[in-house]
Amino acid sequence: MTSDAPPRTPSRTAPPPTPAVGGPPTAGQALSRTGVAALVVLGAVAVSLLLGSNAIGPGAVLERLLHPALDEGAIVWGSRVPRTVLGLLVGAALGIAGAVMQGQTRNPLADPGIFGVSAGASLAVVLGVYVAGVTSVLGILWMSFLGAVVASVAVFAIAALGRSLSSPVPLAIAGTAVTALLTAITSFLVLTDQSTLAAYRIWVVGSLSGRTLEGIGPAIVMALAGLVLAAANIRSLDMLALGGELAQGLGENILRARLVGLGAITLLTASAVALSGPIGFIGLTAPHIARAMVGAGHGRLLPAAGLVGAGVLLLSDVIGRLIGGTGEVSVGVVLTVLGGIVFVMIVRRSRMAAL
């Protein structure tokens, strides 16, 4: 009798059915969504050139773009163009680096900093300023690149010495340990010598504002090299998604896969960090947004993550310019607020589980 009676309230024990939102996107859907993302990035570039904390009209901006001599106060060519170029480059590099990182570690919370790349770059910049008196943008670029490479090689060596590389866990642990150590040394140096580290202090606040395009050439070369490695890593990333052991069983060369992936992450992150200083949240959230759009296959994911990273960073920067009165709200603050909201939305959709 009781067993036949319908329950008065819906059962709370059964898991809710996974929302079947049509399953993973088809190839056509993925392509069109990537196209939409590309259009959004184009729109973001236009908005980033047209809007700023100085309310010169769109017509005036276009005129100044076409005739640099008319650009009184260098507002367009001295501020909007450089920060737009930086936003594109840094956002795309961090988005792709984040996607490679999450694929390598199979950890949805991994960001490019997890392998010690950012911490290594920071320490190298401090050492460069402290020991060698580096203050030029180019000098800081090379120091941060060097630090990123040394840190990631150290992390890789520690992980490779210990156990098999098929599991991402040793890499993540080594990365966390190296990050902690490098951060501690950086804090020690920064706290013991306040006055001489002005150049570091300026760099370490991640920003697209107040930066120049000096040193962008080497950074672009670095980023392109990272892009090539990331593209070369696509097949391996898809294999690693099945689990390291299984990928190995399927004939994947784990050592090679890890090396190429790490190289991509290091080059992409180092080029971004060197130009703008550390900028958070893009490397973490862009891959999630991209995955929700085009699915988890890395052939589609990496380009989409790059586009999303560039678009989100540029638009966040524009928002920051518009809400600060005669000043601006830093892009890092906008990203933290916006990124937090987007992240909660993404997490609430169960797509994230499809990593």
């Binding site: 700023g52 904390s53 100085n54 106060g73 260098a74 507002i75 060519w77 001295g78 501020s79 909007r80 450089p82 203050t135 943008v137 920064v190 706290l191 013991t192 010598d193 306040q194 006055s195 001489t196 002005a198 202090r201 300026i202 606040v205 920003s207 504002s209 107040g210 930066r211 120049t212 000096e214 200083g277 310019r321 600060g324 009165g325 005669t326 000043g327 601006e328 830093s330």
Partner: protein, 343 residues
């Protein structure tokens, strides 16, 4: 309004009635056995001091071992009192403002904002700790529930208050009042009034020379600013005690907006041209320096910058001697500056 009148009469030497009245708040403020000890002793031998917040500190005797935030330690030093411990916002040993002082007997217990080595501070055994409190608006409102300047948070502040009672100097309003408040505090901890009076004479001489220099060059405008990647922070003359005082003495300081945001207005690099009205830049020693300013395309054609009229201007020390030296330098700058911005 009541707060500002309170801060004006912050030192109540010998006013037993006031001391009795505020003893209750003192217990709330310091909340440890020091206050109890003072009330046990009571009477003539005790030492009381009411700080900028209106908190009355009571000790058995005048404190001779003082720990202070760098800016106030410098004031004490200039009045002949050597503190036992100093904590700074920047590296104390290399701070040029300390160059003329011998710090060999002073424990440096902090070199970054809020990073105070509590063990080292306790080892220095201070009897009184001096720091600051900044108003939160131009009416002079004090957030007495919040954390005092130079401390990381309320937890750290509580630990510091266990080492010794904390006196907070109000850094706001009129510059002369800040100087006078620090004179009163210095005298309360044993500074020689005759030495202070002589420093004040030097200060007044420098003040008159500064006023004369300004009257001779009324066209020279100075801009007090800090800059970093986010843009330029233009100090609002009336909101910052040092600039308020200089303006009172006749210095023409860039003043574009007097209402709105407190303390400074921020100009993004895109809007930098809106504030390029000064002939000389008084640039903070923190953040962007001259070369960084020159690298900003939107600021590179600032007339003062182009003319090389950039003077690095550290945070002011509010003592008569230090301000006399600063005003002498300022008068020299004004006298020799080129008038690069017409009007």
């Amino acid at each position: 309004m009541t707060t500002s009148s309170l801060t004006r009469r912050r030192f109540t030497a010998g006013l037993a009635g006031t001391a009795l009245l505020t003893a209750l708040t003192a217990c709330g403020g310091s909340g440890d056995d020091t206050a109890d000890g003072a009330s046990d002793q009571g009477g003539a031998g005790g030492w009381t001091y009411t700080d900028g917040r209106g908190v009355t500190l009571e000790l058995d005797a005048m404190p001779t071992r003082i720990a202070a935030f760098a800016d106030y330690a410098l004031v004490l030093l200039s009045y002949g009192i050597t503190p036992v411990a100093v904590f700074g916002r920047t590296d104390v040993a290399s701070d040029p403002r300390f160059a003329e002082h011998d710090l060999s007997d002073v424990a440096i217990v902090g070199n970054a904002y809020g990073e105070i080595d509590l063990e080292a501070l306790a080892t220095a055994a201070p009897e009184l700790i001096i720091t600051g409190i900044y108003p939160t608006d131009r009416e002079g409102t004090l957030d007495t529930e919040g954390v005092l300047y130079a401390f990381a948070d309320l937890e750290q502040q509580g630990q510091i208050e266990k080492i010794a009672p904390v006196a907070a100097v109000v850094v706001g309003g009129a510059g002369l009042e800040v100087i006078e408040a620090l004179v009163e505090l210095s005298e309360a901890v044993g500074a020689d009034p005759a030495a202070i009076a002589s420093a004040k004479t030097g200060f007044e001489t420098a003040r008159d020379a500064l006023t004369a220099a300004c009257e001779a060059r009324p066209e020279i405008e100075l801009t007090r600013l800090y800059a970093d990647a986010s843009g330029i922070y233009l100090v609002k003359t009336a909101d910052e005690p040092v600039t308020q005082m200089y303006a009172e003495f006749g210095v023409r300081l860039t003043t574009l907006v007097t209402d709105g945001d407190f303390y400074w207005d921020i100009y993004s690099w895109e809007n930098a041209a809106d504030m390029m009205t000064g002939d000389v830049l008084l640039l903070s020693d923190e953040g962007f320096q001259q070369a960084d300013m020159e690298a900003q395309p939107t600021f590179a054609d600032d007339p003062a910058l182009v003319a090389g009229q950039v003077v690095v201007w550290p945070n002011g020390v509010m003592s008569y001697a230090y301000q006399a030296a600063q005003m002498t330098a300022l008068a020299e700058t004004i006298t020799t500056a080129q008038d690069v911005v017409p009007g």
